[in-house]
Symmetry: C5
Subunit: 233 residues, 5 copies
């Protein structure tokens, strides 16, 4: 076993992300059994996104401790599963307030998966980095467009529940801010020729804490508050 | 630990398959508790097929990272369990719409297990590769025949549920297309003397994503939609 | 990690047994929650027997991959737990049809545990191999006697359920045929001086697939069918 | 991996204990959901004692396979958790028949934990071995006194349930006989200067099978029988 | 594997903490399903804090067995998750007795997370140790202030339940005493230049047993007693 030292901030951030994701996973898995029937799917999807995060963060930490830096593919592997899962979780969360078409579901799923895949192609030099960066950006902006101006926003806005509207507002904000770090990191390594000496991994870990933990817990909290609200009404 | 690099597409595809299968397994295991009683068995069987996939993909990835290519037996070991499981899942899915004989169950189970076994015998040179390929092909065509023209198709066609018919249509299509890659890969390595430099494993991983993940999730979605439908009726 | 090749039939049979036992374990653990109250215990015991099989087959495979053959103790360790469990499962299955004495329970448990222990003593040369073989044989015949001519058979015969009788018939047959391979293997290594070059392990794995998987699934299927039957009546 | 041979009785006894504890753990965890509400706690505590046993036996086996004997601390680490758990399980079992004071709970917990701790201090030469042995003996006799002549015995004796009385009788007997091997082993290594060449570990493993497995299963069986009895009444 | 000897008190304390945390985790996870609806969250949070403890204690033990002492970061990684979890558990426990503002929730969460983070910065020399120590102290005192004189104390005091008041009293005491060891250890390493030769880890393990195990079990016991009390009333 490789023992990391107290001053190794990168290893510490990986470990905190690892344990935090484990805590989030168990909480959300238990929470999925506590919330109302409509809310089980979004909570379960967030639990699974956190679970996948445990695996990918663990492997990224192993790579870091092996002393050769963390190839960025270790991050992309986890995102390729967790990002679509979170977009779908937001979809099912909005669907608790009204009907959404299957077409929207497929667009969100495919675009979020392609966004991660195209960025990976650019980072791995299988595609021209600039092109990949721009396509990834377009996909990301499309997703934001759906969240802010699309049918999901309409449905949530029209809902009677106060907590649902507030929950959707915060979740969208987490996705907007938290996911912005990925194109930024992509930009820095692809154009500015930055090599990950550990600081990029720290940034990604902080983003993951926001995106995978705060996002999932916010979904669970929204589910609880909405359930309470409707029980009172 | 062996650290793989960003440009190692084969390792990346193994890792994505690994995490995707883990996500599918947890979702289906949870889903099996959410669907109606008749639907628990097909959903559980798909969950188990995905779970087995985690183990076999993990070991195949380890073999790949050990740097000696992936002996094709690593794929066959997983298929020997997951393929019969999926055929049986389709059987129990069709059985939610009407009675099916135990004889059909046994034929499907035995033929799907033999199909994988015979192909393995060919690949391992325990049997003449051409003969093994042809026998495997016959078994596959028999299964397709049962799915398209057999009693299962009759029962589903006669069902009142719109969603069941559509679900069966898509699942059959996944099996038709997704499973076609296995005889193709078998053909290429057995006749064309192709040696797996990683690209065949990528192809198998993509096929596994389709067969083990998309298939299982489609079964779960069908179960949800049919349950909703019958609740409304 | 040791990578095994496609032509290593012994390693392949270990891996198939491993994944098959994992699939069986999960299916039976889930199934124990689905069957009627009386049936939970036999199904759970079969699930546990399969779970123990995962551990012992995994360790036996590791020993095989380490390249020194599989010391037969690896098989005995698993059997020492799984065989008594299966005998007790059959006892509780028969008990769903009528009362059985606690004395019978203790005789079956002790004799099945001693049967495995005595054979091990013979294989390890702690006891004269011929003597151990003969005592083991007597214990096995005693168990078969109880299954075919004892109180369990009477109780099942007297039951009204068609499916229970048929299930008991098949389970007894599995135990009769599947367990016959163990004294045979014991005989071959103890008397004929056979050294396990892998083929004996293949035979034991095939027997394990029959005894641990088929047995457990047959118990689950019987439980389902009997529950359905009594719901209809 | 270290492969142990068929004639290595110590490794075999560790492996049997390992698999047996795993089987017991799963059975008791499942059983805790099947028994009446009052019985969940004692059954769950026995399940946890068996679970802890898996971990400590696994590590002791690893130490044995590393070829340097098993430092006795590996046994004590497991006992430090499992012995108090079992004493508390017996307390809660007796409490199903009547009220017991919190003071008794605390005395039993503290004395059983101290008994293991003091013996460890003696074995590790942190305390004079004779003194530690004697203090440990006094603690053990105190526990036996509580079981045979204390409030727990009164409560159980006064209970109407036949099965509870019989269950308590057997559990107390298991603790009396099974736990006697620990001060005996302690005596042999501390005074007679015995060095563990594996035979002491075999003895401890046999005792563990009695204490952790038979004890837990007897608690579960008592819970079942009492529940049945009170359902009939 | 590294085998530790009987006289290695540090390794023994790590192992006891490891198995004790595992036992606590399973007990609390099961207990979360047994208590009333309001009590599920605090019990679940304590279960998760214990679960995280398993991971961090395991890794700290591995570091210790690797023979280079335990870098203090291994402790901080676990505390960064478990301390906020326990503060939030206490918050939700008090909330069973009356309404508490979301603002208090956020203050407790953020302050407890910052307390651990600032101490880590000091230990890792990323911040001046004295400054970090003092800021950490202020945060700790703030938390104690909330527990003793804040809204949580008011709410619990005003509650009718005797057991809730007593439970809160003990839990607060555990946090007061048990958490005092952390600033003490921080002080010793940061100012007195103490280097951890194992004895500090022993102290931390004893504190962890108090904080993570006793705390969680006390929450579960309170939940049981309050539920019983309100069932009787």
């Amino acid at each position: 076993m490789v023992v990391y030292q107290t001053s190794d901030l990168t290893a510490a951030s990986f470990s905190v992300a690892l344990f935090g994701l484990a805590a989030t996973t168990v909480l959300l898995l238990m929470g999925a059994a506590w919330v109302g029937q409509k809310w089980r799917i979004p909570v379960a999807l967030c639990a699974i996104a956190a679970l996948i995060g445990i695996g990918s963060v663990y492997e990224a930490r192993e790579a870091w401790l092996a002393g050769q830096g963390v190839p960025v593919v270790y991050h992309y592997v986890g995102w390729s599963i967790s990002m679509p899962l979170q977009v779908i979780a937001l979809f099912f969360l909005a669907r608790t307030a009204g009907t959404l078409t299957a077409g929207l579901f497929w667009r969100l799923t495919v675009v979020s998966a392609l966004m991660v895949f195209v960025r990976y192609l650019g980072e791995a030099q299988f595609m021209h980095p600039t092109l990949a960066f721009l396509i990834g950006l377009v996909f990301w902006l499309y997703l934001l467009g759906e969240f802010y101006f699309g049918r999901m926003d309409d449905v949530v806005r029209a809902s009677t529940g106060d907590h649902l509207r507030r929950g959707y507002f915060w979740l969208r904000l987490i996705v907007t801010i938290g996911w912005a770090i990925y194109p930024l990191g992509n930009f820095l390594t692809a154009f500015a020729g930055m090599v990950d000496d550990g600081s990029l991994s720290v940034a990604y870990n902080v983003a993951d804490i926001l995106n995978r933990m705060a996002f999932g817990i916010a979904v669970l909290a929204t589910a609880f508050l909405v359930t309470e609200e409707s029980a009172r009404a």
